[in-house]
Amino acid sequence: MSDLISKSRLTHIQRLEAEAIHIMREVVAESDNPVMLYSVGKDSAVMLHLARKAFYPSPPPFPLLHVDTTWKFQDMYALRNKMAEESGMELLVYQNPEAAERGINPFDHGALHTDMWKTEGLKQALDKYGFDAAFGGARRDEEKSRAKERIFSFRTASHGWDPKNQRPELWNLYNARKNKGESIRVFPISNWTELDIWQYIHLNDVPIVPLYFADERPTYEWEGGLFMADDIPRLEKVLGYRPEITMKSVRFRTLGCFPLTGAVESTAKTLPEVIQETLLTTTSERQGRVIDKDAGGAGMEVKKQQGYF
């Protein structure tokens, strides 16, 4: 009897996993053309792992979509290709042709870089393939406006988000019915915290990009931040000079475009050490990223209304 009682007490990780799987299956059952947005970060890694669990022994019945900016770390491209192959899923890579043509880059174009490659790129990719539901790895603990976003979050035909007009979500009943032109962004790991993500990666041996672990890497300083020189010739070409490169033991708390993602000096080489460092740190996760700071406190809310994921 005591055995039965202990079994009925699911841990929080088990409950979060079951919830995410339930959400993914609902989307597959109720939408016509779903896709999983895959950014190769740790949240994407967990989401992909959950998808493989949800449909096992079938491969997840939707493709992976990587909205590429061409400025990601080399290690990210490597893991992306490996995971697509391992999971048996189709990998779609989309690069906004207009951004490529205009040579949009993080150094010369600042906010426009994110807008053109990511926001516009995502919209173009979703329109091109006609996806009506897109899984995203956003979490409610990341940022204030996310805390109020539904798990099934509707976007207008022009991909806008209307926070005042969200559908109520009761129990675990999701209304996936769309009006013409609307699409849904679905966030299966909404209720996970950063610690939960790390714990899950730890428990399930989820493959992640090695950049999350500390190592000696070539770094340079730019506008007061510490960055990794992932592609020195390209950096030199865009900057017009060769930045001063210093080898340092660094790692990354979050991964994006390498010129926009701040490195932190660290010696954490194992997952428990990374988790330890994360828990003892006193700055929040997104601080290393430049994107949230635009437009003051409401930065993300404004970006989302414009169609950013």
Binding site: H12, S145, P168, Q287
Partner: protein, 641 residues
């Protein structure tokens, strides 16, 4: 004060353990259970402050966020120079400007024993829907009371809603004790007052505690300010109450099927989230509503097959036999399965700005089943402030009422009191796709179990074959005076001349007999069309070609009739005459009456007409004569055969 708060040590995160033995910490964290709770109270009750305090104490606020908080507190805060914890919690820009919480926000924190998800809900009456949403996933509710004010109307409302949604663990947090000098007598009086009320609405038990969210009394440690209170602290209590999923695990096995897993011919599994009970290989199960039985052979996951799975887990099960089972079915323990029915009494919470349309068909989603449903006029609505039961014709935004509903086919269910999954449902508007209501099934109505379909030997096909025609409904819709009756009449004459068996149902004529009890309110118009739809269906069963001429202003009801008939038998004919033209003709003098106010609810004047989006036939009477239109419709109907 600001300095004092920032330097205070976080209370629950065992920082020492993290620093010294991260593996031990991870092991501890891995085995935590999860509690979801809701906090109820208005901004004035210090709700956001309490949540801010819980996040702060569990170190869920980082230094940079704290710095931003300090700046914001001075700029827009309501606590003078002190930290306004509420700003941490009130997220959307519009809310920060207005200083109120208007939506459900979810917050997270950990203690050594549990992970917590807090649904932070607004307290005002106009946000009842948000509170019900937050409560629907909660194991526990914290009801905040301002010690200076005692039990208020809103306390009663919040308690009633939590009880309605089935939350068994209720905490009465008497907040702001610091502002009443931690007076024991004040606390006791409030608890006594609340106990009386709680009993009156059926709350069996609750836990009361004196706290101060702002000062931190009795939140994580027992406060020296309240020596007369022996505990537990709020956090201790949250860490130890039993969560819903472990209660559900002891019930009979039920799993709604979400998805059939069929990667190849050798594997066929059924995926779902276990609602109640547990399942293991060898268990005898029954698939509802078919009633077919089989035995579970495997419980499959990516991490290997399980010996047993329990409520709250997402799994895939395989059967020993190839029996029919698909999305919407429920797999249950063979000897104690749930029932199926199509008529129920339910409690509804209306969530939409547009009021309920009595008799209109909505989608009902319950578990993984989605069916068409119509709702009767409410038996009563509840005044959420006084708990009085009042008569009502419909349900408006935030209204809570009890009504009977009828689904178009039987659904597998359990009373909500027994299962949130098989008793809780949402209603979806068929046109706008909005989630318009949340509902809880109370019980099925006996009569639905006693009325059965009688199998008839002469089928509808046989009726039609004898007449040598294919039955159809030509549904003429358009404004009053648009020419519906004129054209329908011409079409019937032509069909009759061609030897077809037809019947024309005219709006005015039907209202002299079958529908003479109905007026022109929205509910009556819906019922009018429903009856005409049913009569048309019977006539097509008899093999007839039916022509109907009704204004039928609402898209939803026309779609309802379309759904009653086999694919292709419903032909929507939109007589598209502009309002100005119809009013100019004014054959019956009705527009004149409506304009002068003698006639109420007149379509096009003070009642809307929703034009068809994709009618099978559209007739523009300003460009086509009735004769030409009739000819075209006849050709289309007969040519298509």
């Amino acid at each position: 004060m600001t300095d004092q708060i920032t330097k205070e040590e976080p209370v629950y995160v065992t920082e020492a353990l993290i620093a010294e033995d991260i593996d031990a910490y991870l092991d501890q964290h891995q085995h935590k259970t999860m509690l979801r709770f809701i906090t109820c109270g208005s901004v004035d009750d210090g709700k956001s402050t309490l949540i801010g305090r819980l996040l702060y104490d569990s170190k869920m606020i980082f230094e940079d966020q704290l710095a931003a908080l300090e700046t914001d507190s001075k700029k827009v805060g309501t606590q003078g120079q002190e930290i306004d914890f509420a700003l941490l919690v009130d997220g959307l820009a519009a809310e920060r400007e207005q200083g109120i919480t208007i939506d459900v926000a979810y917050r997270f924190f950990n203690t050594e024993k549990r992970k917590f998800i807090v649904a932070d809900c607004p307290g005002h009456e106009q946000y009842t829907r948000n509170m019900v949403t937050g409560a629907s996933t909660a194991d526990l509710a914290v009801i905040l009371i301002d010690a200076r004010k005692g039990v208020l109307v809103q306390t009663r409302r919040h308690s009633y809603l939590c009880h309605l949604i089935g939350i068994k663990n209720i905490v009465l947090a008497v907040n702001k004790m610091d502002l009443v000098d931690y007076d024991h007598a004040v606390f006791d009086a409030i608890v006594k007052d609340y106990a009386e009320f709680a009993r009156s609405i059926g709350i069996e038990s609750f836990t009361a505690m004196p706290i101060s969210g702002f000062k931190g009394d009795n939140i994580t440690t027992l406060s020296a300010n309240t020596p007369w209170y022996k505990g537990p602290t709020l956090v201790e209590h949250l860490e130890t109450v039993e969560v819903l999923s472990s209660v559900d695990a002891d019930k009979a096995f039920r799993m709604p099927v979400q998805w059939v897993n069929r990667p190849n011919l050798d594997f066929r599994g059924f995926s779902g989230l276990i609602a109640t009970g547990s399942v293991k290989p060898g268990d005898a199960v029954r698939v509802l509503p078919s009633g077919k039985t089989s035995t579970v052979t495997r419980v499959v996951t990516l991490d290997g097959d399980l010996d047993e799975a329990v409520a709250g887990q997402s799994v895939t099960v395989c059967f020993a036999d190839e029996i029919d089972c698909s999305r919407g079915d429920v797999i249950a323990t063979a000897d104690n399965p749930p029932q199926a029915a199509d008529q129920f009494e339910a409690t509804l919470v209306w969530l939409n700005d547009e009021a309920m349309h009595v008799g209109r068909a909505y989608w009902l989603k319950l578990g993984t089943q989605t069916v068409s449903v119509t709702v009767q006029q409410p038996k009563y609505v509840v005044n959420v402030n006084t708990m009085e039961q009042l008569a009502a014709k419909t349900l408006d935004l935030n209204a809570i009422g009890v009504a009977e509903l009828t689904t178009d086919r039987a659904i597998v269910f359990e009373p909500y009191a027994d299962s949130r999954t098989l008793g809780g449902f949402i209603l979806i508007d068929k046109i706008t796709n909005a989630t318009v209501a949340a509902g809880m099934l109370n019980f099925s109505l006996r009569r639905s179990q006693n009325v059965h379909w009688q199998a008839l030997d002469v089928s509808r096909e046989a009726h039609a074959a004898l007449k040598n025609q294919r039955p159809a409904v030509l549904w003429f819709t358009g404004l009053s005076g648009s020419g519906k009756s004129t054209i329908a009449n011409l079409v019937e004459k032509k069909l009759h001349a061609l030897g077809k068996h037809t019947f024309l149902l005219d709006g005015d004529n039907v209202r002299h007999g079958l529908n003479k009890d109905l007026g022109f309110t929205e509910a009556d118009r819906i019922e009018n069309i429903r009856r005409v739809g049913e009569v048309s269906k019977l006539m097509t069963d008899a093999g007839l070609i039916v022509l109907t001429a009704f204004i039928s202003p609402f898209r939803a009801e026309r779609e309802m009739v379309r759904a009653m008939l086999p694919q292709g038998e419903f032909v929507e004919v939109f007589i598209d005459t502009p309002l100005e033209e119809a009013e100019r003709r004014d054959v019956k003098g009705l527009y004149k009456k409506a304009r002068s106010g003698q006639l109420k609810n007149f379509t096009g004047i003070d009642s809307p007409y929703e034009a068809p989006e994709q009618p099978e036939v559209r007739v523009d009477t300003t460009r086509e004569t009735p004769e030409d239109a009739a000819e075209r419709i006849v050709n289309l109907l007969l040519g298509a055969k």
